[in-house]
Amino acid sequence: MSILNRLKIGLQKTRFNFMGKVEQLFYRDAIDEEFYEELEELLISGDIGIKSTMEICDQLRQGAREKKIREPQELKEYLKKLLLESLNTGSSALATSTDGPTVILVLGVNGAGKTTTIGKLAHSYVQKGHKVLLAAGDTFRAAAIYQLEIWAARAGADLIKHQPGADPSAVFYDAINAARARGADIVLGDTAGRLQTKVNLMEELKKIHRVLQKSLPGAPHEVLLVIDATTGQNGISQAKLFHEAVPLTGLVLTKLDGTAKGGIIIAIKRELGLPVKLIGVGEGIEDLQPFEPQSFIEALFSLDKEQNTK
């Protein structure tokens, strides 16, 4: 199944709820205040946030004026373009190290889907012929290490673990050394879920980051923040505070197979410039895909009318 199809299926519900209505909206007769009001509501209902929504609506208004757009359908194309520009940052490919193993650190709040993402990511790297090593950096949550162990076995990756309660930095230190010794070229680092407001836990992240930098120059090559697609406006705070603690390189948007819209990524991109690199669209080990803004937007808008009236 092609990536586009999978994405489409994963996003189907999103489209029914969100863009389905957008489609209806753009079949209205005229662009008036009511139109913009409805559009505003729709964007907000997609968790895009009040600030970004207002900015987008303003841009649309201005664009409509300047380009003399009078047909809703034309405006739709313009909105698509705007959203696409909002999200476009070139390639979503993950960085690779040319010198020694590539280290990818995965962060996020509790329950965002970090461990699952790592399991899926490990699988995808192993499938591509890489030798993958997982670092069980969540030493806090009960049985988190065991959970990662199961994923490692499923994906066919190695695992470095310590006892529950151990210092996660030590786990990463060992993992880097083990990766070198065993010739693993990908190291995926799991971390414990933490709310971005917990100062001591954010300090712990900084330490992990320092240890990684010291153990391997250039590491971590990717620092990915996992965000649950159901997340609301708190997502901005998450991205902001995690980014302040450890410089992020991108986002992973998980659980997109539900009815949540994940619109928060638009707000995060606009406010912090952080791109989405991967999306999770299901529970299977294959259900992790590179994020492609073009396909994302196209998939959102490619509803035909029959689906629309359902």
Binding site: G46, G111, Q147, T259
Partner: protein, 444 residues
Amino acid sequence: MFPALSEKLQSALRNLRSKGKLTEKDVTAALREVRLALLDADVNYKVVKDFINKVKERSIGEEVMKSLTPGQQVVKIVNEEMTQLMGGFNDKLKISSKLPTVVMLVGLQGSGKTTTAVKLAKYLQKNGHTPLIAACDIYRPAAIKQLEVLGRENELPIFSMGEQEPVNIAKGALKEARKKGADFLLLDTAGRLHVDEQLMEELANIKRHIQPTEILLVVDAMTGQDAVNVAESFHQQLTLTGVILTKLDGDSRGGAALSVKAVTGCPIKFVGLGEKVTAFEPFHPDRMASRILGMGDILSLIEKAEASLDKEKGRELEKKLRNEQFTFEDFLDQLQQIKKIGPLEQIMEMLPGVGGVSKQLKKLSVDEKQLVHVEAIINSMTKEERLKPEIINSSRRKRIARGSGTSVQNVNQLLKQFGQMKKMFKQMSRNKGKFLRGRRGFFP
């Protein structure tokens, strides 16, 4: 992210101080701010719409209380309506007449069901119950093990049967609970999407066979607009009896709570507030209302203060605070008055704009137990010492420590804290001069 709503409202209504009534236009302007705050707090946009209409109706034409400015009046109505919308009061767990009372926990992946199951069990245990938790999540890797580890760490009995059909595990657990005489059985189910028909049917099947007294939806406080879809869907298929809101210890406003209650009508029964197993409380709608609005709970503070404080004394104190004539004598007096209102930290939390000084407050770290010591220390001072703490030299310190049954360190600490507090009040009266003046006599 959003400046305190009360401040915004104040500025929106600044020109209205002299007016006795609010015009429709004023209210509309103020409610625009409310709307933005609610949307920013992730309250569902449909719920916001209805809510704003309701508040508007009430606000227009209602007479303004003499002591409050129109702005505050709107805040009060908003707060009241919101509290009402969230159920008004705390809703307790229902108890089945036939033991055990079965509580089923359901929700999306990662909402915090397993942690909540353990917290709830601990909470019940503390209140004299004998809960049993059944591990019905057979899908997530290591979920059963997680529960077993948590059970061991927290001395809670866990029932597991490995990866069998969840309904059979639930049946087995029920038998076990009866045998053991457990009065509560908590079913920890696997996280699932509300659109996953197969897994939703699995829950419906458990419900049919076990007939739980409570089916609680566990909702992450950080959930956005989709919360209503999730809740509606779960409610439709299972008829929920309540909601537990988790991860409220972060900085999310938790507007999902309001949406879920408004859409399903199910009361929020508990909130999870941290990583610790004890960080779990019954839900209070009024506190949540203030949180969503991003303002201190100034109204309940005013009400509480009005009910328990001597206004005359309050005015006197305010003068002293501003003139930096605050002494231990006043402090003692305040301690006694404040104790009537409630825990000190809670009072500070209720103050809007205290955010900036909260770090200093933490340094002070006043807890109730310490207050007893503080009182004893002050009581051991002579009148002169209370009025002029700078005369307290080391021999006086020793005497005070002996007299109060504390140590010299404690006395030193109090003296230092008193100095800091004076500084802080000075700051507050400078920064928040408006606050003190605007509520003459209300501030303790």
